[in-house]
């Protein structure tokens, strides 16, 4: 082989190498209303939850709104005129109407459309029409209700706890330290896919936490690009467990060469800096220079897949990164948000075509996964299964189940 995979056998680590003995979980973890509510109240409510990038609020007054569907919470994240980034409930202090239209924009003030109460972009209530009729309202104390907020490496997190038990840095722990300084800001261009799926949220996290299914479910889409002679079942390599969070490395088969005409055209068109540059195994991009990324120097590196508890995955790739976020809304319903980030925008129609192709193929691959999770939910709800089983090769799933159990049991 021209570029052989230099991964040593010790990197093919299994669950037993880490004493991850949870080889099954009860089906009710994926179907029960009670467990869904426990996850919501004991896991999501006290955890730091990712909501967006600081680059989305670069200028004074720039803001975006976000729904946290699990908690039925709607927030505004806004950079005030004083340059401080804050998060507020998107809810007027008068009768609760959203003060910012959903989306993003720039605002010096937010004005409730109902009775025109006005708030500065630091949350302060500054105008109440017919103020004399509201003797119970002290403007000083009735600004927009703020949420706990903190940033790590440009990633903004909020916490529904008014006084979080841990700081964000404590919550991220070793993960935050290891990946501090990854230059995410060099990949400012993104697109976002939002997909409601009729399945338990953990099913999709499970899907993205093992490579075992790639050779089968993704036989037509990903297998040939990924599977190698040494690793035909596409085990994630070099699993790294960092407190609540975990990372492992995914390989790529660089011997794969496309032969179909549209695929070939796209491959030849994509700029070298594109996120999903299939042809380029050079470490061009600085994300690869970070010591935390691909620490075991897998030559045919494709991505490091990080699961940031409870509901974020970040994939560090050769030429960019992507995020998946998983929001439970019911035992059998979730919303998944995917964002793919790259260094440059298309500058020609040819590149726009290639970028659109990447979006469509990413959509189809995620559709393959989500369709499985829908069928899985149907099967689990049917009542015939007692357990879901996690193999020795599905150690990331075992670890995630372990961490969840610590919060719930």
């Amino acid at each position: 082989m021209a570029k052989s995979n230099q991964t040593s056998p010790k990197k093919f680590l299994k669950a037993k190498d880490f004493d991850l003995v949870r080889d099954r979980v009860p089906v009710e973890n994926y179907t029960s209303q009670k467990i869904f509510e426990e996850e919501r109240d004991k896991v999501f409510r006290p955890s730091w939850l990712y909501v967006g990038r600081e680059s989305e609020v670069l200028d004074k007054g720039s803001y975006f709104t976000r729904d946290l569907p699990t908690l039925k919470t709607s927030i505004i994240v806004v950079r005030g005129d004083d340059q401080v980034i804050r998060a507020f409930h998107n809810s007027c202090s008068h009768r609760g109407v959203s003060v910012a239209e959903s989306g993003c924009g720039k605002a010096r003030t937010f004005r409730c459309p109902y009775h025109a109460w006005v708030y500065k972009n630091n949350g302060q209530l500054i105008n109440v029409p017919c103020e004399n009729d509201f003797p119970q309202i002290d403007k000083e104390r009735h600004g927009l209700k703020s949420l706990s907020i903190a940033s790590w490496n440009g990633f903004i997190f909020v916490n529904l706890d008014e006084k979080p038990k841990q700081s964000l840095d404590e919550f991220l722990g070793e993960f935050g330290v290891t990946y501090d300084g990854v230059p995410f800001d060099q990949y400012p261009y993104s697109f976002r896919v939002v997909l409601p799926i009729e399945c338990n949220w953990k099913s999709m996290i499970d899907a993205f936490s093992e490579g075992y299914h790639l050779s089968f479910l993704h036989e037509k889409t990903l297998k040939d690009q990924t599977a190698t002679a040494e690793n035909p079942f596409i085990h994630y390599l070099d699993p790294r467990f960092m407190g609540l969070h975990q990372v492992a490395t995914l390989e790529r088969n660089y011997e794969w060469v496309p032969t179909e005409p549209v695929q070939v055209f796209v491959l030849n068109t994509m700029p070298a800096s594109h996120t999903l540059d299939l042809s380029n195994n050079n470490k061009l991009a600085s994300i690869m220079e970070h010591p935390g990324v691909n620490p075991s120097n897998v030559v045919n590196f494709s991505a490091d897949n990080a699961t940031v508890f409870p509901n974020l995955q970040i994939q560090f790739m050769v030429n960019g990164y992507l995020t998946h976020q998983f929001w439970p809304v019911a035992p059998d319903k979730m919303i998944m948000e995917t964002r793919i980030y790259s260094a440059t925008k298309p500058k020609t129609f040819r590149e726009k075509f290639a970028s659109a192709y990447i979006q469509s193929s990413a959509r189809d691959v995620v559709t393959e996964d989500s369709s499985m999770s829908v069928l899985q939910q149907k099967g689990l709800t049917s009542g015939g299964n007692e357990y879901i089983y996690f193999g020795e090769n599905e150690l990331m799933l075992r670890k995630f189940a372990d961490v969840l159990a610590e919060y719930i049991d």
């Binding site: 989305e56 400012p188 261009y189 993104s190 697109f191 976002r192 896919v193 939002v194 997909l195 409601p196 037509k220 889409t221 179909e260 005409p261 549209v262 695929q263 055209f265 068109t269 964002r339 925008k345 298309p346 500058k347 020609t348 129609f349 040819r350 726009k352 075509f353 659109a356 192709y357 979006q359 469509s360 193929s361 959509r363 189809d364 559709t367 393959e368 369709s371 499985m372 829908v374 069928l375």
Partner: protein
């Protein structure tokens, strides 16, 4: 084109002064039979739905006619400024190529119009460009 194709023509035929031979830039006449079906679809979702509703034969004919022209098409389109709207004919040609993306997923990858195991029609997602 199939009979189905010609019956759909009424709904999606571009209006205005263009005659059928005048809908695409010169040199791309071989793609005229696909303009009715694909040339007017404005969004990725429209094109994805069109692919799901097409037969493999229809998708193969479209792919077979348009994929070999990719280099020629973009040599033509990339003469136009990227930050401005394309002229009508070029815009239509570009939308045909965006349609080819969906046809190619079916013809080159899945060998079937729809993503397997996925309920039809599959539309319940949104795609949003950020910047």
């Amino acid at each position: 084109m199939s009979e189905k194709g010609s019956s759909d023509r009424k709904a999606s035929r571009p209006t205005g002064g263009d005659s059928i031979n005048n809908l695409l830039p010169q040199g791309f006449e071989s793609l005229l039979p696909f303009v009715d079906q694909w040339g007017g679809l404005q969004s990725q979702t429209d094109r994805y739905l069109k692919r799901q509703a097409s037969t493999m034969d229809e998708l193969r004919r479209f792919h077979g006619a348009s994929a070999p022209l990719l280099e020629k098409v973009f040599a033509h389109l990339d003469r136009f400024p990227f930050d401005e709207n394309l002229p009508d004919k070029e815009g239509r040609l570009f939308r045909l190529m965006l349609g080819l993306i969906e046809a190619a997923q079916a013809v080159e990858i899945f060998k079937t119009p729809r993503v397997p195991h996925t309920p039809y029609p599959h539309t319940n997602f949104t795609v949003e460009e950020m910047s």
